[in-house]
């Protein structure tokens, strides 16, 4: 017997309305609010500080004073002997941290430049949060290199100028390329952070009084938002977005050449360049979600700007990057394993079955198994704290990876009588110090500059709308640029 389906009166219209409401609730770009209110929310988030903020700030300041500057001063006074670096592992945690922080710095450019070039709209509210990570991450990388130098007061010898004998530094050495690449990247990423910040600084200037007004007035440079100012700014941002991408790739590739250009077992690999770049993106994206989850949870009004949709989108990127990292890791491993060189075989065996073998397996679990197990599920990767956890595991896993590549791999060489396991000394407090300085700088910046690029969010909201295709309501985006 045929049964005729009888729809409830008004059911479709109700369903349609709730679908629209759901879309607006989900997507920041479909949930606009008056610009004045949005400005007020961002200013409010900067000005609201609880006692917890100051407690953490003071604690971290003490940690930085003791663990970073205190320990560094001690090391300068005593010499590099207080660090664990010794034959055969002359490169230790200082360089692990350098590579790690340069890796973290890749996220800012990836999110801000690559996603801007491809017009990925979900990037809008958190480009600045990611760009800040780039700048502050590079500061920590710079500190780590200076620590590694030991006699840091002679760091200027690296700069391209002649000594008393008119002899210039050897610019054909990978270490000189490091200086050029990291300096280029630090300057470029700082300029790229500043340019889109100018309109928001002008907004903050218009809403501030006292010392803050003076501060924002100086930094806003007299910006009003005339047609000419916007044109120059947008042109410059487009040039930066395209040009900074190859710079980003070059930086970590050159860092990888510090290792790959040597003929050591485990290091001499032609795939190290892209392997390092994908590793940098892996840890960088993990760090971005961690920062976003903390900002969202601790800063006022940030739940409006940073929503589960953003974690979901970054989660997808993290999953793809994790797959890419696994591919490059296996490719590097496979070729070295197949090569059959006796020292490389010894090294690979040492990685897996040596006293630090647990680190090698943890690296694989943290960088591959955990991201794959969690990020495939849309609901899970939309959960800020779950994605935060994945990001934390990835960063620990990527730090382990650099530890395995540098001091652990240096243990095995072609002279077995020199084999000795690296044991860090003062490097541990110094690492805690650099991590604390990164968080401290970020906390200070979160109260001094608008973390959300308000004008970019509003521009995105102007471009988005809902459109009906038949009975279905879908999100559409117009290209306003």
């Amino acid at each position: 017997m045929a049964v005729a389906a009888k729809p409830l009166p008004g059911a479709h219209a109700r369903e349609h309305r709730s679908h629209e409401e759901h879309l607006r609730e989900q997507h920041l770009m479909l949930d606009p609010m008056p610009r004045g209110e949005m400005n007020a929310m961002v200013m409010d988030s900067m000005h609201t500080t609880s006692w917890k903020f100051w407690a953490v700030f003071i604690f971290l300041s003490i940690v930085v004073a003791v663990c970073l500057f205190g320990a560094w001063g001690y090391m300068i006074a005593q010499g590099l002997g207080v660090a664990g670096v010794n034959r055969p592992s002359y490169w230790g945690i200082f360089l692990v941290n350098t590579v790690f922080w340069i890796g973290i710095s890749h996220a800012g450019t990836f999110i801000s430049a690559i996603l801007r070039v491809f017009k990925a709209e979900f990037r809008r509210p958190f480009t600045r949060a990611a760009e800040l990570m780039t700048t502050f991450g590079l500061v920590q990388a710079g500190f780590s290199i200076f620590m590694h130098m030991g006699r840091v007061w002679l760091a200027y010898w690296l700069f391209p100028y002649p000594n008393q004998r008119q002899l210039w530094p050897n610019l054909h050495s990978p270490l000189s390329w490091d200086l050029l690449a990291i300096t280029t990247y630090l300057l470029s990423s700082t300029m790229y952070l500043f340019l889109p910040l100018i309109p928001d600084l002008a907004m903050a200037r218009d809403r501030s009084t006292g010392w803050r007004k003076t501060f924002f007035k100086i930094l806003a440079l007299g910006f009003r938002g005339t047609e000419g100012e916007w044109t120059h700014l947008r042109n410059a941002m487009n040039i930066f977005a395209f040009a900074i991408i190859p710079v980003m790739f070059s930086v970590h590739t050159i860092v990888s050449w510090d290792f790959a250009a040597a003929t050591r077992p485990g290091w001499s690999s032609t795939i190290f360049g892209p392997y390092f770049v994908i590793g940098a993106l892996h840890s960088g994206m993990g760090a971005v979600v961690m920062v976003l989850a903390v900002i969202r949870a601790t800063m006022k009004n940030m739940k409006y700007f940073i929503r589960p949709e953003h974690f979901e989108a970054i989660g997808k990127l993290m999953l793809i990057i994790s797959m890419g990292w696994a591919y490059f890791f296996f490719n590097d491993y496979m070729v070295q394993w197949y090569g059959g060189d006796q020292w490389t075989k010894q090294l690979l065996h040492w990685h897996e079955a040596g006293p630090m073998g647990w680190m090698w397996f943890a690296m694989l679990v943290f960088n591959i198994a955990i991201p794959w197990a969690i990020l495939w599920n849309k609901k899970w990767r939309s959960s800020p704290w779950l994605v935060f956890g994945v990001g934390l595991f990835i960063n620990v896993g990527m730090w382990f990876e650099r530890y395995i590549i540098i001091p652990i791999s240096l243990t095995i060489n072609r002279m077995p009588f020199t084999w000795r396991l690296y044991e860090p000394g003062i490097e541990i407090p110094l690492s805690i110090g650099t991590l604390s300085l990164f968080v401290l700088l970020y906390m200070a910046a979160s109260r001094l500059i608008p973390l959300v690029p308000v004008w970019e969010v509003q521009e995105g909201q102007m471009a988005h709308s809902l459109k009906k295709f038949g009975r279905e309501t879908v999100v559409t985006v117009s290209d306003l640029e």
């Binding site: 340019l195 007035k217 938002g225 047609e227 930066f240």
Partner: protein, 174 residues
Amino acid sequence: MADKSTFLALFSDLEPAADAIERLRALGLGDADMNVISGIPVTEGMLGRPRQWTNVPRLALGGATGGFLFGAFLAFGTPNLYPVFVGGQGLLPGPPSVVVLFEMTMLGMLIATFVGVFLDSFFPSYSPKEYVREISDGKIAVLFSCPADAQKEIVEAVRKSGAESVEPAEAQPL
């Protein structure tokens, strides 16, 4: 030359602002007599304005050239200033020079792009300017100069096109 007065008209939307610009043009004002100030980038096409000239891409190109030349000096010049031959190797290896040339070219280009924004926009400039705070709250301002004898008619036309306010523009500290 007739005296000119400057006015600042505020709009809450793009459409009336574009209408006002059309009316101003119809009343004889040239594009050089108008400027649009906004809190978000509004393209010239949206308001029917002529394309803005910018020197930023040219400066970027100049910076890239300068950077390349500096890179060439570092890569090829400095080894020749005090030649040190090591182990029979060449003084000027190719691939490492590419790295130096690339980094310096990019640095030159990006610094010139950054400086270009400052030069083209006359930044920093802290002198008083015609501006109101409502602009960063989302309003669109049309700043126009008109002959004093026609100002009544022109201001009325701008009001009719949907301006929320049309006031004499006064330069004030930002």
